[in-house]
């Protein structure tokens, strides 16, 4: 229920007009990115940029995909993000179940630790993680990107899932046991499907933070570039003398589209997930 009914008509029209105008401004950078990616070379780097193009061209995309191993970087990014999303969702689901459905010593302490863990500045840990990865021979492997991101997405995922697990009535669990279900059966066949919308909302956040990663890829993948990820492929188009803006925009578009698709797919779940989490 919104206070919409209380708003008078001229005000509502004004509000709707400004909402649409703001939407245009907010979407403009993305529009400009895609547009510039499709502009032919001369037009991208024109000092009189036009908000449309008369001769859309795939040249910039061709340049991006011809770049050595761009496809490989794309697969690496996808692999790293998927592993982090799936593993952290499963591990967080178990942990969230433990802290919401059982009472045990140190439960509150653990919860506070999960909260505190979220605030640890990831970037500051690059130095010790670098040495850790080196000591375990993980430098220049995708593992050096997966492992830290798992650790960083977990505390948040546990906190967010907690609300969803809490919302499943205790009575359901008791009924399941009375019907002879084992604990494992309840966990995977009853609880898991029920909190699935929450897992989707949580996954959006771990996907984004992993897909976004620039610092770890830059710091941990130093000599074997075949193990690198998309942000590195993007940087190739920044040149000391003259940036290749067409290439940068095309690579940016390729890097952004999967996330946009993912967001649009889970959009309803995400918004209702946030709403659901708020109502607790």
């Amino acid at each position: 229920m919104s206070p919409r009914g209380l708003v008078r008509r001229p005000w509502r029209l004004a509000a709707e007009t400004s909402a649409l105008l703001i939407a245009v401004v907010v979407a403009f950078p993305l529009y400009w990115m895609v547009l510039s990616a499709f502009k032919p070379a001369g037009e991208v780097e024109s000092d009189r940029p036009r908000p449309w193009t008369l001769a859309p061209s795939l040249d910039s995309f061709r340049r991006v995909f011809q770049q050595q191993e761009f496809g490989r970087y794309f697969l690496n990014s996808t692999f790293v993000a998927l592993v982090v999303v799936v593993v952290s969702a499963l591990v967080a689901f178990l942990a969230a179940t433990a802290v919401t459905r059982f009472r045990f010593r140190f439960r509150t302490t653990l919860l506070i630790m999960f909260l505190v863990a979220q605030m640890v500045p990831v970037e500051a840990l690059t130095i010790p993680l670098f040495f850790l990865m080196r000591d375990f021979g993980q430098l220049n492997t995708l593992g050096s990107l997966i492992l830290p991101h798992l650790a960083f997405s977990l505390p948040f995922a546990i906190w967010m899932l907690r609300g969803f697990v809490k919302a499943v009535p205790e009575a359901l669990e008791e009924a399941a046991y009375l019907d002879g279900a084992s604990r494992a059966r309840f966990l995977w066949q009853i609880l898991f499907p029920l909190v699935f919308p929450g897992l989707v909302a949580t996954s959006v956040f771990s996907f984004i933070s992993t897909w976004n990663d620039f610092l770890f890829a830059k710091s941990f993948i130093i000599s074997d570039t075949s193990q690198s990820t998309l942000p590195m492929a993007l940087l190739v188009f920044f040149k000391p003398d003259e940036n290749d803006w067409g290439g940068i925009m095309a690579a940016s578009t390729v890097m952004t589209i999967p996330v946009l698709v993912f967001f649009v797919l889970v959009q309803r779940r995400l918004v209702s997930g946030l709403g659901g989490a708020l109502k607790d």
Binding site: M1, R48, V116, I127
Partner: protein, 318 residues
């Protein structure tokens, strides 16, 4: 991130049926089972978060440069030496001040834009709402690095449309200290206001309509309704999005690094994160980099403790 929204205790005035809150007595102790469930999470966190934090602290007390890293020389204990050196460095204090002011400005702008647009969303019909929501989700979904490149291009002195529209000629945004910070601020606000907007909007929608109707019947103005009815009910959510924004904006790395080319001309746009990275990886002063990391950790820890206190005062059951 949004994790904390789960904390939002029921706003005073909203009804929480007792049944949704499981009575404590019913919960099982479960013996080892909860620990079994927790084991994978604890192993990952201990190995990749707790241990590195310990290492960070340790390195900050050692002499740790290229020689020690390559194993040529043993690491020697420096006591507070690294911190003394750091605090004696004028640049450190400049960067610290810049970080606090920059993060503060980002937080204020993000919250102002996010909250106003959340209110706007409640005033419009479904279609404009969907359009604005989708535009916001688009900005939110954009990876930090591509967001940075696109904003740089929009504001490019030679090829960007912004200077043309504003008639700025070939004004370079990244050349001056303040204009470079302003450009990064715009990008940060652009990609982080949607989280605030969606969360606060969800919070407003959760306020029962009767409460607002009652306020309207009593002749309360829009402003009065907002100040006396909505704001108190939304307070827990506002606390959460504020703290979250503080934490995010304090840690901005990619945007500064990419948009200002690693911290701006002569380091004029450095923030703590980028500064620590440059010290450690560009000049191999790992101990100094770690000491800066520890300073950041302590600042964010303080924010967290304030957050916890606020939660406790709200009576949230952990």
């Amino acid at each position: 991130m949004a994790q904390d929204v789960t904390l939002g205790p029921p706003a005073p005035g909203t009804t929480t049926p007792a049944s949704t809150r499981p009575p404590r007595a019913h919960r099982r102790r479960g013996g080892l089972t909860p620990w079994l469930y927790l084991a994978p999470a604890l192993v990952i966190l201990a190995g990749l978060l707790v241990y590195p934090v310990y290492q960070l602290g340790l390195i900050s007390f050692l002499e740790y440069t290229q020689a020690q890293v390559s194993g040529g020389e043993p690491a020697t204990f420096q006591g507070l030496g690294n911190y003394t050196a750091l605090f004696a460095d004028e640049q450190f204090w400049q960067v610290l001040l810049a970080t606090v002011l920059f993060a503060g400005a980002c937080v204020v702008c993000t919250l102002a834009v996010g909250c106003s647009l959340a209110v706007l969303l409640t005033r419009v019909r479904a279609l404009p709402r969907l359009v604005l929501m989708l535009a916001g989700l688009g900005a939110w979904a954009t990876p930090a690095i591509t967001g940075s490149t696109v904003w740089m291009f929009l504001f490019d002195p030679d090829f960007g449309p912004v200077n043309r529209v504003l008639g700025l000629g070939d004004f370079s945004w990244t050349y001056g200290r303040y204009s470079a910070f302003a450009l990064v601020l715009l990008e940060v606000v652009w990609c982080s206001f949607p989280f605030v907007m969606v969360t606060v909007y969800a919070g407003i929608r959760a306020v029962p309509g009767e409460v607002l109707e009652a306020a309207a019947l009593d002749g309360a103005s829009q402003w009065r309704t907002w100040r006396s009815v909505l704001a108190p009910m939304l307070r827990p959510i506002l606390v959460v999005v504020t703290i979250q924004s503080v934490i995010w904006d304090f840690k901005v790395f990619t945007q500064i690094y990419v948009m200002t080319g690693g911290g701006g001309i002569a380091g004029q746009n450095l923030v703590l994160n980028v500064y620590a990275y440059q010290k450690a990886f560009a000049s191999s002063q790992y101990s100094l980099g770690s000491a800066i990391g520890v300073v950041m950790l302590l600042i964010l820890l303080t924010v967290t403790l304030v957050h916890l206190r606020l939660l406790r005062r709200e009576g949230e059951e952990l």
